[in-house]
Each structure stands twice: as C-alpha cells, then as structure tokens.
C-alpha cells in the first residue's frame, strides 16, 4: 500500500473517532424516538462553543469535554423535550417533524451567527508530538481523541448490556414493536436516550474543536451529514453499528480527500448519506401506510 493511502487511513481513524461519538448519540436518539432530528447538528456547535468560551474563562484542556457534555445535555433536552415533543403531540407527520427540527437548526445556527459576528473562532490546544504507528502518523492529542471515542463506546456498551435501564433501552431501540408489546415503559427510557445523546453530541463538538482548533456557527451543521450517514448505515439504535460505520465513512472520505481534495471529500461524505438513505428506505417494509410511530 502506498504511504498516502496508509496516512489517509490514519487521518480517517481520527475523523471516525469524532464522527462515531456523535453517531452513537444520534443512533440512540433516532432508534428510540424515530424523529429525524436535524437540530442535532447545532448541539455539536454549542458543545464546541462551550469549549471555546471555557477556554476564554481559563478552563483549559480535557475539562472542556465535561463542560461540553453538560451543555449538550441541556441543549438536547430543550430541543427534544421542549420543542420537538410539543410538536409531536400535535400529531404531525414525519415530514412536519423533520421540518421543525430543521427550523430549530436554522434558528439556533443563525442566532449564534448573529451573536458572534459571523466569525471563525480559534481555539488553542497543544497537539503534542507526532507518533508513528504502522506508517500512520498521529499526534498525542489525536491518540487521546481516539481514546475518548473508545472510552465512550465502552462505557455506553457497558451501560446497555449490564444495567437494567440499558437493557431496556437496547430492547426498545432494536425492536420497538416487540418492546412496546412487552410493556417496557418507553417514556423514561426515551428520556435517558435524550440525555445520553445530548452528552455525546456535546463531547463530539468539543473533540471536534480540539482537533480542528476552529469553530463557527456552522460547524455542527456541516459535520451533521457524516454523522447521520454513520448512524443510519450502522442501523439506527445500534451503537456498535454506528462505530463500525463511522470507521468506514471516516476512512473513505479521507481517501477521497487524498485523491481529489477536500471539496470532493465533502461531496463523498454527503453522497454516502444519500446512498444510505436510498438503500434503507425505512417503513416501506410494512407496505401498507408509511406510518412510523414517533415517541418523544
């Protein structure tokens, strides 16, 4: 294998780590609620801004991850339980709900944009020395980012496999029909999913800024398609699926970037989402009405 390919795989693994943190969260949220929540991207942005502001206040380093997680939980709760659930109660269709989440995205994104004066903010974080591994090059920080992703994955898997709430959550995410039939109380579990996904989105935002060292009002929105692609490719509701899909997408987009430049790598990332959605048209299997139950 040429060194360019191997290096791209290295970059891809770092990207995949950031994508997977967000994708695990989206996968849980989407798997449980069935709401295609586009506003998830802004939670990422808010998490990144939280880290930026924390740095301005003198809180530096990996503490920012915790701050990001907190901000993510609050933002997701407000969006999910505050806004989307209110609309879902009005018995709106899937299109109306995605529309509302898009409108929320628009409002938050441009509010941040209006407040910050349309700037790109820079963040400083010591990236450490370069380490070589099987022909790939990682900075210390990048290795730590991979560590955060692996840590989040392991923690989440433990939660889903070992605790009672976690088991119920997994059951609902993977077989909502069955779970409802078995009488698992879904509303509490949905709340847990909102909190977890919010924390993950916030962390993803912070890790993003630690890696790229810049943030703008559009950061999360630009990043969202990759994350959605990973969550849906890995089957909504499946955390390990999201991680595997993130790896594939991270590496694929970096390979395209190596060959055709970043413009085409963005196109490739978006293209993967389109293909994934076309390949999993969801709900069609019932053949009757394309009705999908929404729980919020």
């Amino acid at each position: 294998m040429s060194s360019v390919v191997v290096e791209s795989i290295g970059f891809g693994i770092v990207d995949a780590s950031i994508i997977s943190i967000g994708a695990m969260g989206f996968s849980l949220q989407f798997g449980l609620t069935n709401v295609f929540n586009i506003a998830y991207g802004t939670v990422l942005t808010l998490g990144a801004f939280a880290a930026y502001l924390a740095e301005q206040w003198g809180v530096v380093g990996w503490y920012d991850v915790l701050i990001g997680a907190g901000v993510g939980v609050i933002a997701t709760w407000l969006i999910g339980k505050g806004i989307l659930a209110t609309f879902a109660r009005r018995n709106l269709g899937l299109f109306e709900l995605i529309t509302v989440s898009l409108a929320v995205e628009l409002v938050v994104q441009y509010s941040v944009d209006a407040a910050d004066g349309e700037q790109l903010f820079s963040y400083s974080f010591d990236q450490g020395r370069a380490l070589r591994f099987l022909g790939m090059v990682f900075t210390v920080t990048e290795v730590e980012i991979i560590g955060v992703a692996v840590g989040a994955f392991v923690l989440l898997e433990c939660l889903l496999r070992l605790t009672k709430t976690g088991k119920a959550l997994r059951a609902v995410a993977e077989e909502p029909r069955l779970a409802r039939a078995c009488g698992i109380p879904t509303s509490r579990i949905v709340n847990v999913a909102w909190v977890l996904s919010g924390a993950l989105a916030g962390v993803a935002g912070v890790v993003y800024i630690i890696n790229s060292l810049t943030v703008s009002a559009f950061t999360g929105t630009d990043f969202l398609p990759l994350l959605l692609a990973a969550a849906i490719l890995g089957r909504a509701g499946s955390v390990s699926g999201a991680v595997v899909a993130s790896l594939a997408i991270g590496i694929a987009t970096q390979l395209v970037a190596a060959v055709g430049g970043t413009g085409y790598s963005t196109i490739a990332g978006f293209g993967i989402l389109v293909l994934v959605l076309l390949a999993r048209p969801g709900g069609v299997t019932s053949g009757l009405a394309l009705k999908t139950e929404v729980t919020l």
């Binding site: 295609f36 586009i38 806004i83 609309f87 009005r90 018995n91 709106l92 269709g93 899937l94 299109f95 109306e96 709900l97 995605i98 529309t99 509302v100 898009l102 409108a103 929320v104 995205e105 628009l106 409002v107 994104q109 441009y110 509010s111 944009d113 209006a114 004066g117 349309e118 398609p225 959605l228 430049g261 413009g263 085409y264 963005t266 196109i267 978006f270 293209g271 989402l273 389109v274 959605l277 076309l278 999993r280 048209p281 969801g282 709900g283 069609v284 053949g287 009757l288 009405a289 394309l290 999908t292």
Partner: protein
C-alpha cells in the same frame, strides 16, 4: 433615497416577486398538491439560471475573466426554453431515485443533502460555472427594443415576468384542478390507497416533480437575465426553506394563497430590510432574517399548517350534481361542527373525527 433609485429598487422588487411567485407555484405543485418534500427545489432554479447564462454569454475567451462550459449565443426565448428544459431534465434524473416510495423524512433528507452536494460540486469544480465567483456579465435581453441601462427596461422586464406568471398561473390552476391534480392530492393523503385504486403513484410523483422542476428552471432563467450574474451563494439550501415558508404561510395547495405568502415572506421579510439603514456588521441582517424565517416556520406549523388561505373545497355541484339543500342542517355540517352531532347519531357512527 432619490426618486430614481427608488424607482430602480421598486422595479427590482417587482421582478424578484414575480420570480419568487413562480418558484412557489412550482414547489406548491410538488409539496402542496403531491406531498413531495422537495428540499432541493432551489437547485432546479440554479440549473435554469446557469443554463440561460452560458447559452447567452458566448464562447469563453481569454478575456472573459470567468470559466464556464458550452458558452454560445442563442436568442433570449431559446435560452429561456433551455432553462425550462434544464430544470425539467435535472428533475427527471434526480426523480428516478428520489421519487421511490420511502419515509417522508428520509425523502426530505435526501433532497436536502442533494442540494448541498450539488452546490458543493459547483463550488469545487470551477470549470463548470466559475465556482464561488459565479457567472457575471450576462447581457440583458431585448436590448433592441428598450435601452437596457434604463429603469424603463426594468419595468418592461417586470411586465414580461408577470405576463409569464399569468400564463403559468393559468396552467398550474388547470392542472391542479384537473382529474390529475385530484389524483395527486389523493396519493398525498394516502399513497397505498391511491395505488390500490389504480393510480400509478410513482409515475404521478415523477410527472409533478418534472413539471415543478421546469417551472423552477423558468424562474432561474428569468432571474439571471435580470440580475446579470449568478453564483453559488444565490442558491444555498436556505432559499428553498424560504419558499417552503411562503407556501406554509400563504396556503398549502392554494395557488392564490401562495402569492400572499410569497409577498409576506420574500418581500416584507427578505427584501424590505434591505431598505433599512445598515446596522451591525455586514451579514447581521441576513442572519437575523434566517432566524425569523425559522421562527415563522415553526409558528406556521404550530398554528395553521394549512396556511392562511387553505386549500379550496371542491364541491360536488361542479360535477353537475344539484346543490345541497340549505334547509338540511348537515349540509353545513363541516362548517358548523356543532350541528354535526345530530346527523352522526342518525347514521349511528362512532369514532372521533379528530384524526388528522
């Protein structure tokens, strides 16, 4: 503001209003009548605009200062027709896979992402339509009739745009009120039932997707000949959202209501702020506009999802049936829900009428 600049500004607003109304009718056919969540609508307008531009810019030369493909000189009407064809052709290509049966939110997401992809593609491959800088120096048509550098030309062009609007309104109304329009609305409300009654739902959606795309292409062609320039910032995905909000506010599946909605959203909210004295940094007003559009959108869905002027009820009298006798209380049952109870009792029906 001097008189001449006000005149200039007014003519521009009238032209933009016409172009936006055209787009809104196109999208209303697709979304309002057929239920297709076409979040990439603006892309088809762009297809029309770029096509009309390159067909009149002439061959690219070293002194053009911009790169583009297939530059030629064709007459204005031909370029406009080509813009229509470009919108329709791109719709046909995208429609082949995007009009498949799928979840409404997935379909919306696919079309939204396609809009992002195509925009990014034009940004990245500058050889097509000069990337972010876009095409400029498109010459104003019909210069032999009216001097193109006068406001007289602007008003003449505004008249042309609205004349075309009148023709399109006539066509759109005919189509939407026809049996075909009824089938569109039927499959929008329950696609499986429409198919079970013999309607080819995929073909219906494909047809309305292409017709809407053709109208989008037309609007793009008309726009570029007025603005004389067009670039990737002119067709961000947010533009489609503004058209959606116009439809939601004006009236879903109501082509007259859409004119009102377009006026409120595209003129009052988007254009008029340009008249205000500049405040804040450059771009603040735009950012705030999008915040307002997002809020309006949520309000529209929360308060009046059918729009200010809702879909018109098609009464059976139109089909030669005698009018319902006014004496019968149930004749007004829908208008006065309070009177419905008595009649329901006679029919002995149960179940709520609250389901949407």
């Amino acid at each position: 503001m001097s008189f001449s600049s006000l005149d200039f500004y007014l003519a521009t607003v009238v032209v933009i209003f016409g172009v936006d109304v055209l787009s809104a009718w196109g999208l209303n056919l697709q979304y309002g009548y057929a239920g297709i969540p076409n979040f990439s609508f603006i892309v088809f307008q762009a297809a029309g605009a770029y096509t009309a531009a390159i067909l009149t810019l002439g061959p690219m030369t070293a002194t053009s200062g911009q790169t583009y493909v297939a530059g030629t000189h064709v007459p204005f009407p031909v370029a406009l027709l080509a813009a229509v064809a470009a919108g329709a052709a791109l719709s046909a290509v995208i429609g082949v896979f995007a009009m498949k049966r799928m979840r409404a939110d997935y379909q919306a997401a696919i079309l939204l992402i396609l809009a992002l992809i195509l925009n990014q593609f034009i940004v990245t491959d500058t050889s097509l339509f000069n990337g972010t800088s876009g095409l400029a120096n498109v010459s104003r048509p019909l210069g032999s009739l009216v001097n193109p550098s006068t406001t007289g030309w602007q008003w003449a062009y505004a008249a042309l745009v609205w004349a075309i609007c009148a023709v399109v309104l006539f066509a759109v109304q005919r189509l939407s009120r026809s049996s075909w329009g009824r089938a569109l609305r039927a499959q929008r409300d329950h696609d499986a039932a429409a198919a079970a009654l013999g309607c080819n739902v995929v073909a219906l959606k494909m047809q309305v997707f292409v017709i809407g795309g053709a109208i989008a292409g037309l609007s793009g062609g008309l726009l570029v000949f007025y603005l004389q320039a067009f670039n990737t910032a002119s067709w961000g995905y947010e533009e489609t959202l503004a058209i959606f909000v116009s439809i939601l506010i004006g009236g879903v599946a109501n082509n007259w209501g859409v004119i009102l909605g377009t006026f409120l959203v595209q003129i009052v909210f988007v254009e008029v702020p340009n008249l205000l004295p500049q405040f804040g940094y450059i771009g603040l007003v735009d950012a705030l506009e999008w915040v307002v559009i997002g809020l309006l959108w949520m309000a529209a869905i929360a308060l009046r999802p059918q729009g200010v002027i809702p879909e018109r009820r098609v009464r059976a009298e139109r089909f030669g049936l005698p009018a319902l006798r006014r004496a019968l209380p149930a004749a007004t049952a829908a208008a006065a829900p309070g009177q419905q109870g008595a009649h329901e009792e006679r029919l002995g029906a149960t179940g709520g009428a609250s389901r949407r």
